[in-house]
Subunit: 995 residues, 2 copies
């Protein structure tokens, strides 16, 4: 149990104890207690019959962590008028029914719900459930807090939510609670990065339900519905190899065999004294389905998912009929029928596939976009609810700040001058928000509101942690003010105060420069840094865009802008004072300037249209033509000769492939100062933009403001911005997967089947989580986004990104609401604001710019404010690191695990070969990482932190290429020097104490 | 245990043994086994708090024995697309949940379902359920096979179905399985005769849910929702006194407190960590409802029915929330809230009302008609599905014949030359048909078909019993042919045979004369009786009416008519031979005769219209004016300024109070022969009638044929026949209650509240089960019906009876189908035929005619046929009685109970005072009853045969009149001579053997 531990310069005797303590906490078994003999997992599977077709019946429920109802409404079974669903009852009922027949099996997936249920159970019920788990009768699959969306989630939040769910299972049930199988039966397309993460989390296999209808057809005839997914270009196989199975009926039972209370299929009526005895008919129908299904799979094992959304609330209905089905079908074996039906689980089914010892088709791309019919591309949700998507993304940034400061500030962070709090509320809110009907934007409006409210509540808790921690680290218990509406220039403190401090916490492991922009009412200010040096700053008039958007929530007339520089994993402080006799604010010019530029970039404008006309990288001396404008697609209302599919929360279906231009010209005004230069563009009362260049910035900022989308013409609208360039893209473009590795996309093309394109726009849209780029041999234009969005490259040299959607029809995928967002502040339709950051580089070095740029957007500085003068003893600057980490290394996770240990994830953030400078292996010394934390011991874990890395064994699968998997030799596991290879994430549990 | 036994001339030592054997079989405990100490029934009730308001929560399910789905579909949960309901799962689930908390209670009502479930359970589950019953945690209430309809059922079939259900409970569970409470929560109005029967079955009290909305309002303000119902004018109190409680919310839970899976009320959300914690709100709402309810009831106990139709399929939802409700509400007691909530049952609630020792309002009328709003009178179902109603009634007759012959024929009846069979299938079919959505006609069409199919199947089984028995009694094993379509002159045997025998079995305990009418193709026949004497007979041409109705199912051109005379409880035989040279068939005359008459009656016709014009009783020499015609009410389609209520299966709502006349004149033809005289009347292609007078008959027969009702005008139609007479009725008329006692009705009047009449026709309709009459001081015109029908007396001297209904709209009471009957034989709409028998008498002696006449219609002779010559040794005549019973005594039940005992019910069929001749007490000697059965021993039972009569003790209740209940002294219980008082039914279990 000490393998994989890291030695450190501690007294020799203390290490094993420290590690044992850690291990006991991770595995859930208290120190010194003998693990009981268990027959869970693969050992608990029912025997199969080698010479028969074995049908694995998998009883399951699919419990959305919010969709038509909120997660808590689903838990309790509240608002059954919206949808009949009550998870508390599902778990009650399943446990009861499992106890009635030891053959029965059930899998449970969503720990967000299981956790709620578990804490309401009596100790004896908890013991009963433990026994069911230990006997493999109740098996957890997937096991994260939720079943995350794959298109719109960021890997950092996905890893967090998986870690939280799996940790609960580990601590509650030990090894028998560890899922062997990943299970994403509902998400609407599948990201390669998710597969990579699941592989690194130790899953033996992965099952899902939805894929493109053409892809399925081909795979059925080729018997390639089970395959080996090689999910990384960078990680050495089989590190990111994941066996992947496509389920036969989505995740539903075969037709006619749904026995849930929500279904109407005929029960098995086996009392010959009553009417309608139907056993013979049921057996006949079942055998026909099983034999048909066996024809499109490779082995003599097939799986049937016996359940669906929120099913098993009354599990008796299912099990009573399944018991009978198994009895009556297997009774046919005496008559020579070669079908064997059994209760099973995904892992038991997977084990049989593994035992078959076959080779499997290799897949290296992903499963986007997903279409379930020719005109039904699920590419709208890549953008749906853009405000929620942004709020989720910034909440992740806030949570990471909270996590880090909880560690760096020590115990006082959780119980300090500003009260008691911890990061748990925020963690749960973020975990819930990863659900495939949460950040995806495919939930009902009231549920979207609930997700946002949870994030807000989480941040309230975290603000206490952050205040406590910063108070400890700075030595000042002055009240800290948070201004969460700086994006619309609202902050009561800065608007009214004549003297205040701005504290900039940087959650990245390297220093950042960040433009601070504060609403003020004065005309001139002095800003000085932690050393007391005056900093260049500029007061500019608040733009008319902002004044319109903030809608009486603030009245600042000016904004104070300066560039803040913050140390790695630390904070710095700027003092701001109103100047009575300072210079006036910058003036705005009505005409468009020919160009704006800083030391790195030059941007020109067309004087006739007011639009961008070119972009030049002054370092590389490369210029591209670049025009940019805003357009809207007319969302199909479903009245169409080809199909009656409307655009909706899930589905993007434009009525025409040609978008409507909003305005060929922009009204402009500009502000040009040494600190920043802005061209403010108006395209319509509901579309405007600020083109902005900060001093020292290598990225051009396009701050767009879109909304309320007008619907008085009864036309649903999907607004895009399109960048048209001189880059010769040859129909290729590139998008990231969950914010990590980048995949190449080609117009009207799929790597694994011959595409019949039926939606020239929607069928060419892909999720953009953090960036997209277009390139040719000499130029690469990268766009870093501040949230997940959908986009495509329809014309060569062009990249379009969908910003906002307002739809008047439901798209008939269940949500039963048009995506038509309004609120009390925006009764006439939601206004959304966001940023695109453009970087023009030579392709071989583009990643050196966009990798750190994107991380800076994902983990942005957290600003806090204090009013008036600070106590002179206040520490104004702090870094939690001994030194900035190398550019290739991203500090992905630093969070308190328990009282004396922390979870650390270090990530190599470059892909193999994408950067000459940064794509090599890089080594970090864990002992020399932190400035204030002494590392007493540590162990490496799998990505999800529920297994010791060196105890993680996975099934080996052989691809059809015939290659033998490389069994990679890791470096000396006992060294503190840990090496990261491209795109590698390493996870450590460290025992620490504050120095 | 020998109290109440009857001595007989047997060896002295043998009697106690015989009785013990009987007792052991009735009670369900084998001989010699000690009864376990039990705390079921009243002893198992939870304690209440005398100084608080006690709220009795009664978890229950209401499981229709067929309605939208068939009984077996309901049992299995099949066709959940029609209605989500599966009784197997309800019982599974409730038992599971009762085991989780010993405080929980459940009541179960419908033994038809419980029996199906019980026989599929394992012995250990059966033992578990017995323990729950023995501890009073699962309690049976009502306990009949079904919850019978009260308006359209005949008492004989109701007693049978109650007996069957209660017997199963008795034999399965012993005393703890005996219901203490009758429970008719759903029937649509309440019959006094039902109350009388329940009293005689030993129930301590009765609860129901539906009553007239005006009645409820008055009773609420008077706190008279609980009352003492004196349910007989004849039986001495308290013999037919029944404490009756009206439930507060029909049978539903109070608003906002339905926690079934079928409901959407908010669950109790008591985890303060989750959203929407609502315990305080739930408690507040519950207390408000409880306190409000307490204001309209008399004691500090109130009842809440926590359940509804097919609820508790997932009982966990209910109980989990009820547990919480009880916990959180009672927790308020510590804060001085005086409300105590408890799990309870109707009997536990009843016990508390009894302990209150109050006096209760006395009620002597009934609860018909039922209206739930001003224009919503549930008086349509009195007639709905007239063909099913008739088929149910004749099936009862067949079943009683089957029962009797099963006894009289001995064991060979069940296993004889025609195969193995018993009466059980028919008993179950009849029991199921008593359900309040069966014979009531308020089920969906496919369910009505299922009831009919079950009755047909039952009769198939019974035909084997009857054939076996008659074979044994007659000594002839010649094949017996059954002709079930004689009413439309279809019988392949008589149509084709030149020589055959007709066997007439009479199930009455007195001889009958019965007109036999057989389809034949010959012109002349000889008919001779069992003595070989020739019998007057007549061949008449088949009427055009019949030829039209039978629709190619037969082609007989003539009918052979003769009067058969059959001995009591026995059969006789008539031989029929074709005569080659006999007289031709009677000829028909085109013109209407001035009159037809026999020795008892004279009927005149209006020569201009062809309608009846007068009726004369030639014995009493009284003549009344009598015209009779057919009309239709236009059924409301719901588009109406007063209310949007349409006529439907339940509700009768004519668009106008004036019915449309079908034709002012009738086309006629007549047949006049010494054997019978007929005037055949045509009113329309879809309405015709035969006015018929048989020789020796004291009743005038009106055989009506109605249908298909035309709907091409898009008007729903409700067809009545109306008798307009010179009788001075002064707004009174009279209808029977379930075929027994007669109640006086008065136009626009209710005996217990001041009626605001809002539906002048529908609000004056009452159920007619077997008869209705109008009378004045000198004349009484009684109409005996052949099925249940609705009717009224809207004008003085007038009596109308609704015959058939065809409706185009659903009446929004759940059945969700318009009552628009078609079939493969009648694709253009159902044709229905029936008979009214008219008797004109002096009022003091009218009952002497209508009592036997009605019984003769209810228990009509069963005809069987044998082809060719009978073996000369064949016994042609038989009576099971030593002598006919006195006119006042009706043999209600004679059926095999077990191998050596039979159940006998004798009934005094006259009301107190209705007949000078027959209303006195009458004595019968049980030992001298049967000709072929030796009575070895016997005991008297309660009416439902689940308790020894002398062990039956009931709660005593004091009416507000202040009277003290008479404790009636019965005659010597050990005598074989048993005396019957008016309207008394006495039930005996007799140990018999064939002499």
């Amino acid at each position: 149990m000490t393998r994989g531990s890291l030695s450190c310069n501690m007294a020799a005797g203390s290490l094993p104890v420290a590690l044992l303590v850690l291990l006991s906490r991770v595995s859930g078994f208290p120190l010194g207690q003998e693990e009981p003999k268990l027959t869970c997992g693969y050992e608990s599977c029912h025997a199969t019959k080698p010479n028969m077709l074995n049908v694995h019946l998998v009883p399951h429920t699919h419990d959305d962590v919010g969709w038509l109802k909120t997660v808590d409404q689903y838990y309790y079974g509240d608002r059954n008028d919206i949808q009949h669903a009550g998870v508390q009852y599902i778990l009650d009922s399943v446990v009861d029914q499992l106890l009635k027949n030891p053959d029965r099996r059930f899998i449970y997936v969503e720990t967000a719900f299981f956790y709620r249920w578990w804490k309401q159970q009596s100790p004896s019920m908890q013991q009963t459930v433990k026994e069911l788990v230990n006997e493999g009768r109740l098996e957890f699959v997937n096991g994260g807090w939720c079943m995350s969306d794959e298109a719109t989630t960021h890997y950092s939040a996905v890893i967090d939510q998986m870690t939280m769910g799996l940790r609960f299972l580990n601590e509650t049930f030990g090894p028998c609670g560890r899922p062997r199988v990943a299970w994403h039966i509902d998400p609407f397309g599948h990201a390669r990065e998710h597969a990579s993460m699941f592989a690194q989390m130790g899953y033996d296999g992965f099952f899902f339900g939805r894929l493109d209808y053409q892809d399925r057809t081909r795979r059925q005839s080729a018997r390639e519905q089970e395959l080996l997914w090689r999910a990384s270009d960078s990680l050495e196989p089989p590190m990111a190899d994941l066996f992947t199975g496509i389920l036969p009926n989505g995740y539903n039972p075969p037709e006619g065999f749904c026995w849930d209370q929500s279904c109407d299929d005929p029960p098995i009526r086996d009392d010959p004294d009553l009417e309608d005895y139907n056993v013979d008919d049921v057996v006949r129908r079942f055998l026909a389905i099983a034999n048909h299904q066996a024809k499109v799979y490779k082995t003599n094992h097939i799986i049937m998912t016996m359940g669906s959304d929120f099913q098993y609330e009354n599990a008796n209905l299912w099990y009573k009929n399944l018991d009978k089905l198994i009895r009556y079908v297997n009774a046919q074996q005496a008559d020579g029928v070669g079908v064997n039906v059994l209760y099973s689980t995904p892992s038991c089914y997977l084990q049989e596939l593994h035992r078959a010892n076959l080779t499997w088709a290799l897949k290296t791309d992903d499963f986007f976009p997903y279409a379930d019919a020719a005109h039904d591309y699920w590419t709208g949700y890549f953008t749906s609810r853009p405000a929620l998507k942004r709020y989720e993304r910034i909440s992740n940034s806030n949570l990471q700040t909270c996590n880090q400061l909880e560690v760096l500030g020590g115990p006082v962070s959780r119980n300090g001058p500003f009260g008691k709090a911890d990061s748990q509320t925020m963690k749960e809110a973020m975990a819930v928000a990863q659900h495939h009907d949460a950040v995806s934007g495919t939930e009902k409006q009231h549920v979207a509101n609930d997700y946002a409210r949870r994030l807000a509540s989480g941040w309230q808790h975290c603000q206490v942690v952050v205040s406590n921690s910063l108070s400890a680290l700075s030595g000042s218990s002055a009240e800290r003010i948070y201004c969460d509406r700086l994006n619309i220039s609202v902050c009561p403190l800065t608007e009214s105060s004549e003297k205040f401090s701005v504290h900039v916490y940087n959650p990245l492991a390297r220093p950042v420069t960040w433009p601070v922009r504060l609403p003020v009412n004065g005309s001139s200010y002095d800003v000085s840094d932690a050393e007391g040096r005056s900093v260049d700053c500029q007061v500019v008039p608040v733009s008319a865009q902002t004044a319109a958007v903030r809608r009486s929530r603030g009245f600042a007339v000016n904004e104070l802008v300066f560039q803040a520089q913050a140390p790695p994993l630390g904070f710095t402080t700027y003092s701001v004072s109103l100047l009575r006799d300072g210079p006036p604010p910058a003036s705005t010019q009505r005409r468009v300037p020919a160009a704006i530029q800083n030391q790195f970039l030059r941007v020109t404008f067309d004087p006739d249209t007011g639009l961008l006309s070119s972009l030049t990288n002054l370092e590389t001396k490369r210029t591209i033509k670049l025009t940019q404008n805003f357009y809207w697609y007319n969302a199909s209302d479903g009245h169409n000769s080809e199909s009656d599919q409307p655009s909706g929360a899930y589905i993007f279906r434009p009525n025409s492939s040609t978008p409507f231009i909003i305005s060929k010209t922009a009204k402009t005004e500009s502000v040009q100062t040494p600190v920043l230069q802005e061209v403010r563009q108006w395209f319509a009362p509901w579309v405007s933009q600020v083109v902005r260049l900060h001093r020292d910035s290598r990225a051009l900022e396009l701050e767009w403001t879109v909304g309320p989308l007008p619907i008085s013409d009864d036309l649903g609208k999907e607004v895009i911005t399109r960048l048209d360039t001189s880059i010769k893209t040859s129909e290729y473009f590139y998008t990231d997967s969950n914010g990590r590795e980048v995949l190449q996309r080609k117009k009207d093309f799929r790597p694994t089947w011959k595409l019949r394109q039926s939606e020239p726009i929607a069928g060419n849209y892909y999720p953009i989580n953090s960036r997209a780029f277009i390139k040719d041999d000499v130029d690469q234009l990268t766009v870093v986004t501040d949230r997940s969005q959908g986009g495509g490259s329809i014309q060569n040299g062009s990249l379009e990104i969908m910003l906002h959607r307002r739809l008047l029809h439901d798209d008939v995928r269940g949500v039963a609401e048009p995506l038509n967002e309004t609120s009390s502040v925006f009764p006439d339709g939601l206004v959304v604001r966001g940023r695109l950051l453009l970087s023009l580089d030579r392709p071989p070095s583009a990643a050196d710019a966009h990798r750190p740029l994107a991380q800076q957007v994902v983990l942005q500085p957290t600003l806090t404010f204090t009013d008036g003068d600070l106590h002179p003893d206040t520490r104004l600057e702090f870094s939690g690191l001994q030194a900035a980490l190398p550019p290739a290394v991203h500090l992905l996770t630093l969070t308190q695990w328990d009282e004396d240990s922390v979870l650390l994830r270090l990530e190599h953030q470059f892909q193999s070969g994408e950067s000459k400078r940064n794509s090599g292996p890089v080594t970090v010394n864990l002992q020399k990482l932190f400035s204030t934390l002494e590392v007493l011991g540590g162990s490496e874990l799998n990505l999800s932190a529920n297994q010791w890395k060196d105890e993680m064994t996975r099934f080996h699968w052989t691809p059809q290429t015939g290659e033998e998997p490389l069994l990679k030799t890791l470096g000396d596991p006992s060294a503190w020097e840990v090496t990261l290879r491209p795109m590698e994430i390493r996870t450590f549990l460290l025992r620490v104490r504050l120095r």
